[in-house]
């Protein structure tokens, strides 16, 4: 049951003719157009990266370190090479270019040299004619290790204790935010310590791809990734090849959520293909996948909130520690988000936040949906609930009282210069209908905590309701040159004007392919829009992360449509002898200001193809100053609020989330159905972090690398949702839109934990909440 209201829609819409024309087109902007890949996907015919096949192809496998930290004393390949069916066994000595890569800092070897820094670090790779043969041969590689005492404590690492794991020590980044009076005092003070466990993206399509050696000495790589061009750059460097000889094409991606921003098998498969001269396919299994990608940074967080007796926040002080594990990945950006968004969507005059991202010998952590913001939100929202309890006020009222709004400034001094309807979102989510009370008669155990395990018939079950609200930055921040490229070709195919849209921006399931079609349909008034395969033969599309693609690639597609439209209208003007100014494109025709048809678009085009490429950039951002963390670091802020209703079996500590509702401002819902899909899916991942998902790491070792032991929400765990979508246009963004993907992951976790606290009275300062936290045993 979902409802969608947008009463504010249009009120602050920037009035452009494009936007006006947009709403009118079937399958255009604002329509829940169908995915162009939907039919292939339901027929089982969509080619995911693990489905690829090539004549003569070999299978790759990876040998990984069993130790979190060890010196490599020797590597013996003899037996592996002797295995029948094996075509190559490669180590760091065979890396053709530089044996180093990394998203923001190149600090990670493609294959380990003389030390391994995490359990699962790749040491050698094998190519064989059967996947099982490759796996077995990898196991026959003899590596002699000298295990070392691993660095596992993030707080100690931040203090500089323990051996340095990298040349510059174990602090990847320390960011300070200072605003107002450092000595401020308040009537009421709330102090809290919080912990966030290591979450996994758990995308369903395993890491995989196919590398095909090319005649020019280069390689063609078909792979599931979030960012083709950043992969290309890193792969080319490791292979010692010019960019032009490393061509990437996006294969079908089975979800990503941040976990495919870093390289996994890309260089390995290319190395094996170049060495053997044969196509090489690599597919991780689920266990390997847990070692094959970065995870969400676990966090330890200390908060102190000061407020007046009336509930106005006076100050927020925090220390936030984020465990980046063995390699940096996107740790610097995660630190930036946790620190700059560390007080949440509230106005606070006096702020002192210190945030550290560190190296340890734990699994490497990097991007996962909502990064940095997710960890901080669990802390600051828990604090807001505690403060409300201490003041004896309603937690929603306390939030509304302190809610940030347009015109306020962030702790970084950045002005919030577009809609920030935090109070409105809270009011809306609070006003959504509540489910009926705990049902005891008749009992359907399937609707109780524990479900068909039949652990209760309603006795000991207590209902709780909780709220959460969060803030996220959209697009890349801190002065990063963030852009996207789109190429468009308009020509007549089979008698009909057809647009071919080409970008390198990765479709990972979110529906960017649909968005591109919708924009072209609206801007050019053509129905037939073909989405070309995403590859590196067109300019950089930037990362599919940071909720940025509809904004950035959407912006690029809009811009290239405008260029093409201008040219076509000039052609039309010449043809009919009129000034192009008053002409427009609609329904496959050239029309005048009154909507009268002056020419048929297909006739205007004739045999000619109109083609253009455009690059879109968002407004510039800046690095914050190192002393006080002041500066305009972010492009856009996005907000969502959740209400969770839970039933808790307080005797057994079992939780059933009964209902999870959300209100979110999306600026403009380009595809309303896809917007809901993002909110549902993002909320589910927040539910997972709240009550079940954690990679358990003991002494640097992962204890649960399987779907048997790492639990993600099933259809039984995920309750029905009511979603209220607001559309308050951001005048700085294309079509006024606001990034959608991450905010729902941020606020659902604290809302659920708040609901469990309400039901149990327990403090619950760690996620995921486990039964023993509830029962206190």
């Amino acid at each position: 049951m979902t409802q969608r209201t947008s009463p504010e829609r249009g009120v602050r819409e920037p009035t452009t003719t494009a936007a006006a024309a947009a709403t009118a087109v079937t399958g255009g902007i604002g329509d829940s157009a169908r995915r162009p890949d939907g039919t292939l996907k339901v027929r089982g015919e969509f080619a995911y990266s693990s489905d690829l096949w090539h004549e003569d192809m070999l299978w790759g496998a990876t040998l990984r370190s069993p130790h979190p930290y060890a010196r490599i004393l020797s590597v013996d390949l003899t037996e592996a090479l002797r295995t029948p069916g094996v075509h190559a066994v490669l180590t760091h000595e065979d890396v053709p270019g530089e044996n180093i890569y990394g998203l923001e800092h190149a600090d990670q070897p493609v294959l380990a040299v003389d030390v391994v820094r995490y359990q699962g670090e790749p040491v050698a790779v094998v190519a064989a004619d059967h996947p099982e043969t490759a796996q077995r041969a990898a196991k026959r590689i003899r590596v002699e290790y000298e295990p070392l005492e691993p660095v596992t404590d993030m707080v100690a690492a931040a203090r500089g204790e323990g051996p340095p794991l990298h040349p510059d020590g174990n602090v990847v980044r320390h960011l300070r935010i200072r605003k107002g009076d450092a000595e401020a005092t308040a009537d009421v003070m709330v102090v809290g310590e919080y912990e966030v466990g290591m979450q996994d993206q758990a995308f369903l399509g395993p890491e995989s791809g196919l590398a095909v050696p090319a005649e020019d000495g280069g390689v063609d790589l078909y792979v599931a990734t979030q960012w083709l061009h950043v992969d290309q750059r890193q792969v080319a460097r490791a292979l010692g090849l010019p960019l032009a000889k490393v061509r990437l094409t996006l294969a079908g991606v089975g979800g990503a959520f941040g976990g495919r921003e870093d390289l996994s098998m890309q260089v390995h498969a290319c190395m094996l293909a170049l060495r053997t001269g044969r196509p090489v396919k690599m597919v991780y299994n689920r266990q390997e996948s847990f070692f094959g990608h970065v995870h969400r940074h676990p966090a330890k967080i200390y908060y102190e909130h000061g407020a007046t007796r009336d509930g106005d926040l006076v100050y927020v002080r925090a220390k936030i520690y984020l465990d980046g594990g063995a390699y940096a990945s996107s740790t610097t950006a995660v630190v930036a988000n946790a620190a700059t968004l560390g007080v949440g969507p509230y106005t606070v005059d006096n702020v002192a936040i210190d945030c550290w991202g560190v190296y340890t010998n734990n699994p490497p952590c990097g991007a996962m949906r909502g990064f940095g913001a997710v960890q901080a939100a669990f802390g600051y929202e828990s604090q807001m609930d505690e403060l409300a309890r201490r003041l004896g006020v309603d937690p929603v009222e306390l939030r509304i009282r302190n809610a940030i709004a347009e015109g306020d400034t962030m702790p970084t001094g950045q002005l919030v210069d577009s809609a920030a309807p935090v109070a409105e979102l809270l009011r809306r989510v609070k006003n959504l209908p509540l489910p009926p009370a705990v049902r005891t008669e008749p009992v359907d155990v399937r609707e109780l905590p524990g479900g068909v395990s039949n652990t209760t018939h309603g006795e000991g079950v207590v209902r709780g309701v909780g709220y959460g609200v969060g803030i996220k930055n959209v697009c890349f921040s801190e002065g990063f040159d963030d852009y996207s490229t789109a190429r468009l070709r308009l020509q007549v195919i089979g008698g009909e004007a057809t647009a071919l849209i080409h970008t390198a921006a990765a479709e990972i399931g979110q529906g960017l392919v649909t968005i591109k079609q919708q924009i072209v349909r609206s801007e050019l008034g053509v129905e037939r829009v073909t989405v070309q395969p995403m590859d590196t033969s067109v300019g950089n599309g930037g990362s599919t992360s940071a909720s940025r693609q509809t904004y950035m690639t959407g912006g690029a597609v809009r811009q290239v449509c405008h260029t093409v439209r201008e040219r076509v209208l000039r052609m039309a003007g010449r043809r009919v002898g009129r000034a192009p100014d008053g002409l427009a494109l609609a329904g496959g025709k050239v029309v005048d200001a009154r909507g009268e048809v002056v020419a048929d678009l297909a006739e205007v085009l004739g045999d000619e193809a109109v083609e253009a490429t455009e690059v879109y950039r968002h407004r510039p951002t800046h690095r914050v100053d190192p002393e006080r963390g002041q500066g305009n670091a972010h492009v856009q802020y996005a907000f969502a609020a959740h209400r969770a209703v839970v039933d808790v079996d307080v005797e057994l500590g079992l939780v059933r989330v009964v209902q999870l509702d959300c209100a979110q401002d999306v600026g403009r819902a380009v595809n309303p159905q896809a917007v809901l899909g993002q909110i549902h899916g993002g909320s589910a991942q927040g539910l997972g972090l709240a009550v079940m998902e954690e990679i358990q790491v003991v002494d640097g070792r992962v204890r649960n690398p399987s779907f048997t032991d790492y639990l993600i929400p099933t259809i039984l765990d995920m309750p029905p949702m009511t979603v209220d979508v607001l559309e308050l246009a951001d005048p700085h963004a294309p079509y006024g839109l606001r990034g959608v993907g991450e905010p729902p992951t941020i606020s659902s976790t604290p809302a659920i934990v708040a609901a469990i606290r309400a039901a149990t009275g327990r403090a619950l300062n760690r996620v995921p909440v486990r039964p023993e936290h509830i029962t206190g045993t």
């Binding site: 979902t2 829940s32 169908r34 995915r35 890949d37 939907g38 039919t39 996907k41 339901v42 027929r43 089982g44 015919e45 969509f46 080619a47 995911y48 693990s50 489905d51 096949w53 059967h130 099982e132 993206q201 758990a202 995308f203 369903l204 399509g205 395993p206 991606v253 089975g254 979800g255 959520f257 597919v283 299994n285 689920r286 359907d444 399937r446 609707e447 068909v452 990972i508 399931g509 529906g511 159905q673 896809a674 809901l676 899909g677 909110i679 549902h680 899916g681 909320s683 589910a684 399987s706 779907f707 048997t708 993600i712 929400p713 099933t714 259809i715 039984l716 995920m718 029905p720 949702m721």
Partner: protein, 165 residues
Amino acid sequence: MRVTVTVNGERREADDVWEGESLLHVLRERLGLPGSKNACEQGECGSCTVLMDGLPVCACLVAAGQAQDREVRTVEGLAEGADRLAPVQEAFVEAGAVQCGFCTPGLLVAAHDLIRRAGRPSDVEIREALAGNLCRCTGYEKIMEAVRLAAARTASAELSTEDTP
């Protein structure tokens, strides 16, 4: 070894099958039917769900030899005809139940089987029947919507066929 199995109504043979291979591997890598997915290969995600002699199974847990002389139906065989979709496939696309789509083939087979068995299942029944199929993208809301829609359409289609003399 050689494995002979009827897949989507067609008798198929796979040669040189190594005895440790699963039915999933044979379908995907030897018979050119990669529609059934491989998200965990340990019976935990349901992305490989197929019907074997009419019953839903995880193809990753079925040894290739166990499928000898059995009837297997995969996602590729749900629709009747190359240019048509089964009601459940149609409903998934329409309702927006497909994002990355990696869970979709398994869910479709499981939902198709549920609707055939239960007609118009209640929400609780749908959740119970699909509890073995993980989806990481959708939060399951649109999947619920799609299954309800497909069940309703199947029921009304059956009614109208009964009506026709």
